[in-house]
């Protein structure tokens, strides 16, 4: 593929403020219940008493997630109508006029990117702010981040700059869909596994 747009996430500076989420909602006019970008929080570790004092090895980090615009998008493969398509720049999009709202892609997407629109009965999703990008502007979430934890660009260039990490807990193996993502992992993400950590804010995402 000549070009593949991708997001970069710097977990080491993300405070989980959800500025990106709200910027996205504002840009796309999203009602409560629909979020193209969400922020997950992972906690782990615990407490024990040492000599009558509480000692802790707690860890915590956040993970802002949107559509990964995968190189092998499972959503595209399973979409029965062809409403899902991949543009030349690698952006995965949905043509809402063609979508029948079967929600099959929701099962297929391992990133929860697919958002069912109760009003129209079809699927919506992150379109990488293609309209803004066409005007030379960054995606709303990237421009919003007060910690500069988000960036975007061509996947190869991002990988050259930031490395090739494409998954930390709780993301699935990149082999599943080849997500177009580069992650600078939080130091604690190395400690996190299904046994030692868990997503703690499911009611928020």
């Amino acid at each position: 593929m000549s070009k593949q747009l991708a997001f970069f996430i710097d977990q080491t500076v993300c405070t989980g403020c959800k500025g990106c989420q709200i910027a996205c909602k504002d840009k796309n006019n999203l009602p409560v219940g629909m979020n193209y970008r969400k922020v997950y929080e992972v906690n782990g570790g615990g407490w024990q008493q040492v000599g009558g004092f509480w000692e802790s090895n707690v860890f915590a980090y956040t993970l802002p997630v949107s559509c990964m615009h995968c190189q092998e998008p499972l959503c595209l493969e399973v979409c029965p109508t062809g409403a899902t398509f991949k543009r030349d720049d690698g952006v995965v999009m949905v043509n809402e006029d063609v979508c029948i709202g079967c929600r099959y892609c929701e099962w297929a997407c391992p990133y929860g990117a697919r958002q069912f629109n109760e009003q129209t009965g079809v699927i919506n999703k992150c379109n990488f702010c293609a309209d803004l990008q066409a005007q030379g502007e960054p995606p709303a979430c990237v421009a919003a981040c007060p910690m500069r934890a988000l960036d975007f660009g061509d996947l190869n260039e991002l990988q050259a700059r930031y490395g090739t990490t494409a998954a930390v807990y709780p993301l699935p193996s990149p082999s599943l869909t080849q997500p177009s993502i580069v992650i600078k992992a939080h130091p604690d993400a190395r400690r996190a596994t299904v046994e030692t950590a868990r997503i703690v804010n499911l009611e928020e995402v």
Partner: protein
């Protein structure tokens, strides 16, 4: 067909703005137009014999279809044209089901209404024709539609601009939607592959919009994209390329949600009075659960003025309690008013800080600027979470220090979100015990220090720059026994404040206390930074002094990378005077308040209920408060003792609120007055140390909202006051004065220069007066960019190191303390506390156990036997809100669910898991919330975000929203600060459901409906 034959119109809509706009459209209607603004008038007029009713069926506070049926019942022959909100097919269906003959979308009404009326008229005419024909077949009449139609002529002319139509439609749409029953958001997602929104198509204008809240953040840039009066999108700073030295001022989730605030369907729309209100109060017990009756501004202002007059005449000016707002300008001229005293956010920093020599943290800072922070090798964040409490750039500035190599230690009960990315070490500590930890550190330093072999104490600094550390450095006239060193060593009281002593109280292992002491003392460049939170504790009067003493002992003051003080709120991570600042507004004061009575925040509600208040040392005076005037703010929700507050609100004779929403203040008022937001006003000037922003008007006032000052002026007029004195300058002139007076630091650091160049032509164009001046940028540039930012780079001459000159030469650069030095022995703070009348403290920073602190969770401290309230609650600045502002926005409610935070150890002991509904009870009240169980909180401690809008379940008395002041009792201690972070609670599983806040109906009030929402 002549006008007589033309059908008559009745225009029925509760919204004045809508009626007036539509009347313009219909002004030439040949059949005549009458109007109705409420339900009863509509029915009467319809019955009286109109031909066509044009109405907004969903805006009358009942289901639109029912209203249409009602109209049909009283006037079966009348034709009905329903104006409905835009974005939902359900309204169309409901209107047609209700019997509407035609439906017109509100936003299209300027274009579609007349053609629709034409159609309906034709139908009406042919119907009449048929009726007549059936009676008298021989009558031949021309069909009206064949006649030249005057409506066609009306159609050729637009009487109303599209702009105003779309605006009220966008603004009212959601509100009308809600009257129809059920919560509809009114947002429709844009198509990802559809046409570009206008914001991209470039058909509107980006205008700098005010983000005016008391958020503690860094004052960020917000721009609104306005198309035809509607805000389609907001964005943040993109006025220059972003770099860490010269960063964009990026806004937080709250600021970016402001579209939902200003245009929220729950905005108060018109003045309303409580149904069972009567002069003197009426049935006062109904406050908070009564119905609302819509009244005109004239009625509202007459009620307000006459009540002020009545209360003054009956009880005297002292009986009028003002919790905030510009009404004080009028009341000062009307004999005065009572108000409150005592700090809020600062805790004890406001008074103890400056009296002992440090800054309070807002008006004066004691920490260095953000560039110098990068020189620190160790940053101690003591009770500070800028990621929540100072959103915007501060956490980014701290991150820059970390990137430059600083180690971060967080001392906090919660492994907070700032710690998540910055902390190299987290020291969990019990709330209200910071002072004990600091004493443990001090004891370690004193006992382990050896100037030659193990220098831990900066004796040079102590000797030259402080008083009161030991008996050899006492201020003149002080008792030499009253020195800090002997207190720490226990020379007089026999109790050495060892690490072990401290550990028992604060919960930090003694070894860790000693290690922390050594690390702070042995690291060359340390930033000892704290937020105000540890000082928002009962009896914490000595804490700021203690914190300062640590800085003095270790000498981390007044040099590059070395600083000690408050780093929070707007000044977080960036100390020093403003490099660019607005000028004054030019509004002259109205003189002193003739009434000198002030009631401490902690005693406000008690004063109402018991009729007395503490007036000073051993002085209790009577008071008879009969009027509560909430001219701004959120006193009932945001001051301690909310449960008593509600009782007080149901006791006085009159309560009034100027407000945007049905806030807690407004809910318990007799009279509510809708006021404009900053987006509806002339302009707003605000900034931070490096930035000044000029926000402009985004939209004309919505609904019937008026500026706060307009209300004050109208009241003043009715009271016969000199209005020119009350409100001497138009807002536009005030804004101009601030801009014209704006000063910016010269690049070489040698002083200041005017920021803006202003010409006579500029002033003429703006409609203001002033003198032309030469500045750094043009007025047009400032206006268009909406921001000016000082360009910073490392090593520039704009940096700031607090106490630099003082440290070099304390004699030549005396501080504003009694001794001119940093006062480890401070007589004035001890006197100030004594004269406040609640209790006393010593001049040195001793540990004073907090009322409802850790110790009070025990019934038997010696044997560590817990009592009925075994957990410590402290209350945090929560990301959904800035204090109580923004609590009502659906986007933020979804993102931040107001969860009750608890450790797994405590949760498991109570059989609780994340998502369970719990009841939290203190000695003062009870709230319920979903619990969030996380290892990030230390055992024994729980927290809940402050500022949720009180929502009392009248049957159980439990607050469902989790308003923390329900739990925080009003306990007056020391200098009369509010001790939110000392509170004991018990937590139990609540057997009941509680829907997520995001699904709660918004507080949309329609006259005639109960306000118990």
């Amino acid at each position: 067909m002549d006008a007589r034959q033309f059908p008559s119109l009745l225009l029925a809509a509760p919204h004045r703005w809508l009626r007036e706009t539509l009347l313009q459209v219909l002004q030439a209607w040949p059949g005549g137009v009458t109007t109705a603004d409420n339900h009863d008038a509509l029915l009467v007029a319809a019955k009286a014999g109109t031909d066509i009713v044009v109405l907004t069926p969903f805006a009358f506070g009942m289901h639109g279809a029912d209203l249409l049926r009602e109209v049909h019942r009283v006037a079966p022959r009348v034709r009905m044209v329903a104006l409905i909100p835009d974005d939902d097919g359900d309204y169309r269906l409901a209107a047609l089901r209700g019997g509407a003959d035609a439906v017109v979308y509100e936003s299209q009404a300027d274009v579609d209404l007349l053609p629709t009326l034409q159609t309906v008229t034709r139908a009406e005419a042919s119907r009449q024709l048929r009726r007549r024909s059936s009676r008298a077949r021989w009558v031949k009449e021309e069909r009206p539609m064949d006649n030249p139609n005057p409506i066609a002529e009306l159609l050729t002319e637009r009487h109303v601009s599209r702009r105003s139509f779309i605006k009220w439609s966008a603004a009212l749409g959601g509100a009308a939607a809600l009257a129809g029953g059920g919560l509809k958001f009114g947002l429709e997602p844009l198509k990802s592959t559809g046409a570009a929104p206008a914001a991209v198509a470039g058909t509107g204008e980006w205008i700098t919009a005010a983000c005016w809240h008391n958020c503690g953040g860094h004052r960020c840039l917000l721009k609104a994209y306005v198309v035809d009066g509607v805000v389609q999108r907001v964005k943040t700073d993109d006025t220059h390329p972003d770099s860490v030295d010269f960063p964009q001022n990026r806004a937080c989730a709250r600021g970016r949600s402001q579209r939902q605030q200003v245009f929220g369907p729950d905005r108060l729309k018109y003045p309303m009075v409580r149904k069972h209100w009567a002069p003197g109060g009426g049935d006062k017990s109904l406050r908070g659960r009564d119905e609302w009756v819509r009244i005109s501004w004239d009625e509202a202002l007459n009620i307000l003025a006459s009540e002020i007059k009545r209360v003054k005449d009956t009880y005297g000016n002292e009986s009028i309690m003002v919790t905030g707002g510009d009404i004080t300008r009028a009341l000062t001229l009307y004999g005065g008013y009572t108000t409150t005293w005592g700090t809020t956010s600062w805790g004890t920093w406001f008074y103890t800080g400056p009296k002992t020599g440090l800054g309070d943290g807002l008006y004066a800072t004691s920490h260095n600027d953000r560039m110098d922070l990068r020189n620190s090798q160790l940053v101690v964040m003591w009770g500070a979470n800028p990621a929540w409490s100072s959103q915007g750039n501060p956490t980014y500035f701290y991150q820059a220090a970390k990137a430059a190599g600083a180690k971060f230690i967080f001392i906090d009960p919660f492994y907070n979100d700032s710690a998540m990315i910055l902390a190299d070490e987290w020291i969990p500590i019990r709330p209200a015990t910071d002072h004990a930890l600091a004493l443990g550190i001090a004891h370690t330093l004193i006992t382990e220090d050896n100037p030659k072999t193990n220098p831990l104490i900066d004796w040079d600094f102590l000797n030259r720059c402080t008083v009161g550390f030991d008996k050899d450095h006492m201020p003149a006239g002080a008792d030499s026994k009253e020195n800090f060193r002997d207190y720490v060593l226990g020379t007089q009281d026999g109790q050495a404040k060892t690490a072990e002593w401290a550990a028992e109280i604060c919960g930090v292992h003694p070894d860790r206390i000693r290690a922390l002491a050594r690390e702070i003392a042995q690291t060359r460049r340390v930033a000892l930074l704290t937020g105000w939170a540890p000082a928002r504790v009962n009896n914490a009067d000595a804490w700021p002094q203690m914190f300062m003493t640590l800085g003095c002992m270790t000498g981390h003051i007044g040099q590059p990378g070395r600083m000690t003080g408050v780093s929070c709120w707007e000044k977080s991570a960036n100390g020093g005077p403003d490099l660019v600042a607005a000028g004054g507004s030019g509004v002259a004061g109205v003189g002193d308040n003739p009434i000198k009575t002030v009631v401490n925040n902690n005693e406000l509600w008690d004063a109402v209920l018991t009729g007395q208040y503490t007036a000073g040392y051993k002085s209790v005076k009577p008071i008879n408060i009969q009027m509560l005037y909430h001219g701004m703010g959120s006193a009932l929700n945001q001051k301690v003792g909310l449960v008593k507050g509600i009782e007080a609100h149901r006791k006085v004779e009159f309560v009034v609120s100027q407000t945007h929403f049905l806030t807690t203040n407004a809910k318990y008022s007799d009279l509510v007055l809708p006021v404009t937001t900053q987006w509806e006003r002339e302009g707003y000037v605000k900034g931070n140390r490096e930035v000044l922003m000029w926000a402009r008007q985004i939209t004309p006032p919505l609904y019937e909202a008026q500026d706060d000052m307009w209300v004050v002026r109208e009241v003043a007029t009715r009271l016969g006051l000199d209005v020119a004195k009350v409100d001497p300058l138009p807002l536009k002139q005030q804004v101009f004065n601030q801009i014209a007076g704006a000063k910016v630091a010269k690049v070489d650091g040698s002083g200041q220069e005017p920021l803006v160049t202003i010409s006579e032509a500029d002033m003429a164009a703006m409609g203001v007066t002033g003198k032309p001046q030469q500045g750094r940028i043009s007025l047009a540039q400032f206006r268009d960019q909406g921001i000016y930012q000082v360009q910073r780079r490392p090593g520039d001459r704009l940096g700031y190191i607090a106490f630099e000159a003082f440290r070099k030469d304390p004699e030549a650069n005396k501080l504003k303390t009694d001794s001119g030095k940093l006062e480890i022995h401070c007589k004035s703070i001890a006197e100030f506390v004594k004269n406040s009348g609640f209790d006393e403290v010593r001049p040195i920073p001793t540990y004073n156990k907090a009322t409802e602190g850790y110790e009070d969770t025990f019934t038997d401290w010696a044997h560590k036997i817990k009592g009925g309230f075994p957990l410590q609650l402290y209350t945090i600045h929560y990301r959904r809100r800035t204090h109580s502002v923004f609590d009502n926005l659906p986007w933020l409610r979804e993102a931040f669910p107001q969860e009750f935070i608890m450790n797994p150890v405590d949760a498991e002991a109570r059989g609780l898991k994340t998502g369970d509904i719990v009841r939290i009870t203190s000695r003062h009240g009870s709230v319920m919330r979903p619990v969030w169980v996380t290892e990030r909180m230390m055992p024994g401690v729980v927290t809940l975000g402050e500022g949720a809008w009180s929502q009392i379940d009248e049957t159980t008395g439990i607050c469902q929203a989790g308003a923390t002041n329900t739990l925080n009792g009003a306990i007056a201690t020391g200098q009369g600060h509010q001790g939110w972070n000392s509170c004991n609670v018990q937590v139990e599983k609540y057997d009941g459901t509680l829907e997520p806040d995001a699904t709660w109906p918004q507080r949309i009030v329609f006259p005639g409906a109960s306000n118990h929402v």
